[in-house]
């Protein structure tokens, strides 16, 4: 009871504090309540807590960061508007003058930009993100045949290079390529294997330093050494475990000195050899050397305004890949979602889709054709399924304060409704994250087939025109188990053929609904 009262009092804190430390605060309360039993300790505990509230709550609002205010207000505008009153003093004269000057400058800048509209370059919302993320996302729409909802095969993208050169990437490990961008987005194998025109950004890089013979480079000792040195520099700079990076560097040099690399003259085989040598030191399947037949561009191509417009248009045409949003008989909400698109383009569609099933008694997410997408969208949809911020594990990102769902969502009624996820062997990447986390949190029953097994967390780094490396740069905390779904996939709770998954889910959902 007392915990519930304190949980209510915690609501006095601003949302950013609750999201970051709400659960921790409750835990601290539980710890103290357990250790400080009896009348007087109990009274002292409550006096401490109340005085803490009196001091901390105003301070938290006073010190709230502008970005957090924006986020908080934005979320609530979807339901009831909420405004924070942040101060009751009149602005100082200096502040007013500065504000006026800034406003004038802004108006002037906008006027100049409008008058030079021909040379205006639009702001791209993801310029702060790694470039590979944007490349991966948008280049999925460069060709109609290459799309987020791919078909069989699950090779992933090389993040540092544009997709059209990723088409000819060959993994050091012949069986698979683990390299992937942070954006969980997939291209078809079929598309990847097509001959592609070199990217425009690679024009300057066509002067390859390696001799390319019959689609593969022949390497001499000095070229091999240059690749090894490049690998060492990249490892030391980017690998998540610096001590292992050092050990790998020593191992690579020692192997080279021993003459173990001498016989390998083909680029592909050399990449495979270096991958093996690195993994012998650090058995990390996300770590690999990659050889590309086509020259890798010096700088990853940034998405152009046209590509951005095309992405937006494609999403509009496909209803942001929400293929179906329906209420099935027995008031079961059904969402067939074929990717997790970029929230900066599809937030409204996603919000509307969730709103239209808000009054359902159970909800089915059909992810049988979902090949992944943006982690932000995965977390956004998951936020509807909890009434409190829940730790949301993403193997591609370091654990931060953002690793929590944005629950509760104002006006949402789905937080306590049964959730079913339909899976197939094609369910992949971001869709697997959605399934895995919900399963581990015991929030969803998964029905269908074991998923594809794509949890790559490597980021691609170019070494030279033909060699690059996939390197894990993150060390996220998996609170659920030592392994995730990489390669093994996510096992469903109820195994049925993918084609029968919907029928099974509907039956199961009906049987579990209270009889009316």
């Amino acid at each position: 009871m007392s915990e519930k009262i304190y949980a209510l009092l915690l609501r006095l804190f601003p949302s950013h504090f609750r999201e970051a430390y709400g659960e921790e605060s409750l835990q601290l309360f539980r710890d103290r309540a357990r250790d400080e039993r009896g009348f007087f300790p109990g009274v002292r505990l409550w006096l401490d807590l109340l005085s803490d509230l009196v001091w901390s709550v105003p301070r938290e609002y006073f010190h709230m960061q502008p970005a957090l205010i924006g986020a908080s207000a934005y979320r609530r505008l979807n339901g009831l508007p909420l405004f924070f009153i942040l101060g009751d003093e009149s602005p100082r004269l200096g502040a007013l003058l500065l504000g006026s000057a800034c406003s004038l400058a802004a108006v002037g800048t906008i006027s100049v930009l409008i008058s030079h509209v021909g040379s205006y370059r639009p702001f791209r919302p993801w310029t702060n993100q790694p470039q590979h993320t944007a490349s991966a996302r948008l280049s999925a729409f460069k060709s109609p045949a290459t799309h987020a909802v791919g078909n069989a095969g699950e090779k992933t993208t090389a993040s540092g290079s544009p997709m059209n050169s990723a088409g000819s990437l060959s993994s050091g490990d012949a069986a698979r390529s683990d390299t992937q961008s942070n954006a969980i987005l997939i291209v078809d194998d079929s598309e990847s294997s097509r001959p592609q025109t070199p990217p425009s950004g690679a024009q300057n890089a066509v002067a390859a330093t390696n001799r390319v013979v019959n689609g593969d480079a022949t390497l001499d000792a000095s070229e091999r050494h240059r690749v090894i040195v490049g690998a060492i520099v990249t490892l030391k700079e980017h690998y998540v475990y610096p001590d292992l990076a050092q050990k790998m560097a020593s191992a690579l040099l020692a192997r080279e000195k021993n003459g173990e690399d001498d016989k390998v003259t083909e680029g592909r085989a050399f990449a495979a050899l270096l991958t093996r040598q690195m993994r012998e030191v650090s058995p990390d399947k996300h770590l690999e050397m990659v050889y590309s037949q086509d020259p890798l561009p010096q700088h990853p191509t940034e998405p152009t305004a046209e590509e951005l417009a095309r992405y937006r248009e494609a999403m509009e045409k496909q209803n942001c890949t929400f293929e179906k949003v329906e209420i099935l008989p027995s008031n079961i909400g059904y969402l067939k979602l074929n990717s997790f698109p970029d929230p900066s383009v599809c937030r409204q569609t996603a919000t509307a889709a969730m709103a239209s099933v808000n009054h359902a008694d159970a909800i089915i997410f059909d992810l049988r054709d979902n090949r992944g997408g943006e982690p932000e969208m995965v977390a956004l949809l998951a936020s509807y399924l909890f009434d409190h911020p829940e730790y949301w594990y993403n193997p591609r990102e370091n654990t931060t304060q953002k690793s929590w769902t944005r629950s509760p969502v104002p006006g949402n009624r789905l937080a306590d409704k049964p959730v079913y996820g339909l899976t197939s062997a094609r369910t992949f990447s971001g869709a697997e994250q959605f399934c895995y986390d919900l399963k581990m949190l015991k929030r969803a029953t998964l029905i269908g087939e074991t998923t594809g097994g794509g949890a790559h967390s490597g980021v691609f780094h170019r070494i030279d025109d033909h060699f690059g490396m996939g390197i894990p740069e993150t060390k996220p905390i998996n609170p659920f188990s030592k392994t995730d779904w990489a390669e093994t996939g996510v096992e469903p709770n109820v195994k049925v053929k993918a084609a029968d998954a919907l029928e099974t889910a509907v039956k199961l959902a009906r049987s579990r609904l209270p009889k009316k």
Partner: protein, 116 residues
Amino acid sequence: MPKRKLDPLPSAAFQILLSLAGEDLHGYGIMRQVAEQTDGRMRLGPGTLYSSIQTLLEEKFIEEVDRREDAKLGQERRRYYRLTSTGRKLARSEAERLADLLRHARAKKILRGDYV
């Protein structure tokens, strides 16, 4: 909008830095350690504790380490915090400032005892 400042270092933040000087601790561990090192005079409530932790994290004076269980307190996984080298420097300079203050207090005969 003002950003929380650590200059001068608030007492709660200093106590948290001191509490982490010996070992990594979770939130409740910090609260107990602070209570112990102040003879029970300072019992940090969740609001003060976590807002101070947040500020110290933002300024990189402490860092989060692996989430793990505390065997004495059950199976809940807890966030642990660690003092960084800059945090240690900050705590040291604050301690030196206080020691300096103490020397002055003794010189003015406000406080008796040996010089520190």
